[in-house]
């Protein structure tokens, strides 16, 4: 498929002093730079690098808080226990399913929202912007409760509103079955996070050069062709950034599941499994191992995004 993009503009390299023969001024600037940025850098490492190293260490022990005397080094046994247990693979399956479904729907829906915001009347824009920020700003727990109450067999209105749909009856228990529960979890997640994607895509849409659209129009391209050959290729960077952020975010899904089902009926995500091992069952060793595995999953996803899809954050930043 041929796509139309503008050639990259000439980059102006920042002028920096050469390494050798560094001037006093440049040296003091470097020093000041690290002096100012150092504390923030150190705090970031302290609150993430340290805990993950500690978790890695603790994952090598058979260690439960209810029985701290019998802490013993077991090597990689915890990882073996987890990776041979169907619970882990089920939670990976649930997490991957929720991630794929929500991100795919959000991307399409978010693109639609962004298009409407571009085309809508100027007077309407502030209203739309405020409305779209509400789901983003609302606490996930509140959104989860709102959706749970709506589908609840006693307090909900969904069952009485949608009885005409096949499979929905007055006594449909949405949270009693695995797949209907996951469906409601996905709906709540999609509602809450689509606005964020649509804002990123809106910023991407604004970066598509108007001249290309005009040129395509003059050349007789249809609306559909302009969309696929001009608009989307030119905002590829914004799409990829939105995808990367949302995929990693979706993979950590926890709050909505905790509120809606508490992990019952096979709706446990990987984050939930780690939480249950550590905080509820006080199995520090096993819980740490799940945490480390989750961390590795997230790293793998980020890495494959950057390598496979060539997400270039610098390019997305318009540099």
């Amino acid at each position: 498929m041929t796509t139309t993009t503008l050639p990259p503009g000439k980059k102006t390299e920042p002028v920096s002093a050469p390494d050798k023969g560094i001037t006093d001024r440049a040296r003091s600037e470097r020093k000041l730079g690290w002096l100012l940025a150092g504390p923030a850098f150190a705090v970031m490492l302290l609150v993430t690098a340290y805990p993950i190293l500690q978790a890695t260490y603790e994952s090598l022990f058979d260690y439960r808080l209810t029985d701290p005397e019998n802490r013993s080094f077991v090597g990689l046994t915890n990882y073996w226990v987890i990776l041979t247990d169907s619970l882990w693979w089920e939670s990976i399956g649930v997490t991957a399913f929720i991630t794929l479904v929500t991100v795919a729907v959000e991307l399409v829906l978010g693109f639609g929202l962004a298009l409407v915001m571009v085309k809508a009347l100027r007077a309407l824009r502030p209203v739309l912007r405020a409305a779209i920020l509400i789901p983003y700003a609302v606490i996930t727990v509140v959104s989860a409760f709102a959706w749970q109450f709506a589908f609840d067999i006693n307090s909900g209105f969904v069952n009485s509103w949608f009885t005409w749909l096949p499979g929905v009856a007055a006594d449909t228990d949405w949270f009693g079955d695995r797949w209907t529960a996951i469906l409601v979890i996905c709906l709540a997640e999609i509602w809450k996070t689509t606005p964020f994607i649509s804002l990123l895509l809106l910023a991407g849409l604004a970066q598509v050069p108007e001249v290309l659209q005009e040129a395509a129009k003059v050349d007789g391209a249809t609306r559909w062709q302009r969309m696929w050959r001009v608009t989307i290729p030119n905002m590829k960077a914004a799409i990829m950034v939105a995808l990367l952020f949302r995929t990693l975010d979706a993979f950590r899904v926890f709050d909505t599941i905790f509120i809606m089902t508490n992990g019952a009926n096979g709706t446990e995500s990987v984050s939930f499994l780690a939480y249950r091992q550590t905080i509820a069952r006080l199995e520090i060793g096993l819980g740490s191992a799940v945490s480390v595995l989750l961390f590795l999953c997230v790293v793998a996803i980020a890495f494959s995004f950057i390598k496979l899809f060539k997400v270039d954050l610098a390019q997305a930043r318009g540099e």
């Binding site: 923030a40 970031m44 609150v47 727990v141 926890f254 905080i279």
Partner: protein, 277 residues
């Protein structure tokens, strides 16, 4: 644009507003329902009642809700303030100075932002118990920095890059002292960026649930989302639906006010930070 087109896009806009506000309208409606009204399957209450608000603000559930509200405000404001202060220095350095490691700091911020929270909770849970930070304000403020600091650095350096720093020298040439140039020129230019960053960081801290339920056990430090998650009825036969809804509405009010007042800036901050960085 033709009238028909205007109508179509206007209808699209109306659909967006309904989509965004429907669940909020629903939880507001539930919060005004009497217990006898909860199971009637209708969207609106048959009769408005304040009894759910009464229950969480003055009644039996207020011991659980009010301390949580104070904790949430205190912890989130302090975490936001600390991360904005640290990020301000870092962002100034990134935007204005030339030093090796700029990229390292920005990529570290990105890496921390995508870090799974649960992987931090597991080791902290044990450590906090040993050193006495479990169920305290600092015990939540410190891990909250992992949520608020990366986005603060990222967003603020995007804002600071757009400041015309030459204005500072221009003011000095015109006879202003260094302090005057900073106070009268740079502070007004930088303040909106700092303020917007603070709002976004506050949203993120306010939204936390995992740290809240894992690292607290009493009303000494438990924030609102955790309190909501652990809410049970006054008796085991009473569903806490109405009370939860009322509490949910109350914690949603601050964020809605912030959104309505500063929507333009919040959008700029969110997209600048992620797309332009």
């Amino acid at each position: 644009m033709s009238t028909r087109k205007k109508l179509v896009w206007g209808l699209g806009g109306a659909l967006i507003v309904v989509y965004c506000l429907f669940p909020i309208a629903w939880i507001v409606s539930v919060s005004f329902k009497a217990p006898s009204d909860l199971a009637n399957g209708s969207f609106l209450p048959t009769e408005l009642t304040w009894q759910n608000y009464d229950l969480i603000l003055f009644g039996g559930a207020s011991d659980l809700f009010l301390p949580a509200l104070v904790n949430s405000f205190g912890i989130c404001l302090i975490a936001t303030a600390i991360s904005c202060l640290l990020a301000m220095f870092a962002a100034y350095a990134i935007a204005r100075l030339d030093f090796p490691g700029k990229k390292l700091i920005l990529s570290t911020a990105l890496a921390v932002a995508i870090f799974p929270v649960i992987s931090i909770v597991t080791p902290l849970f044990n450590l906090w118990r040993n050193i006495g930070l479990y169920d305290t304000w600092p015990g939540l403020i410190i891990p909250y920095l992992s949520l608020t600091l990366p986005i603060s650095i990222w967003t603020m350096s995007a804002f600071f890059r757009e400041i015309p720093w030459e204005m500072e020298q221009a003011a000095q040439v015109d006879g202003a002292t260094t302090w005057q140039a900073f106070r009268k020129v740079i502070v007004p230019l930088a303040a909106p960026g700092v303020f917007t960053t603070a709002i976004i960081a506050f949203f993120i801290a306010w939204n936390d649930f995992i740290y809240g339920i894992s690292l607290t056990s009493t009303e000494a430090a438990r924030p609102v989302p955790a309190a909501l998650g652990l809410f049970t009825g006054a008796s085991q036969f009473e569903e806490p639906t109405g009370a939860i809804s009322a509490a949910a509405v109350i914690v949603t009010i601050p964020v809605v006010v912030l959104v309505l007042l500063f929507q333009r800036r919040i959008v700029a901050g969110l997209t600048n930070g992620a797309v332009k960085g």
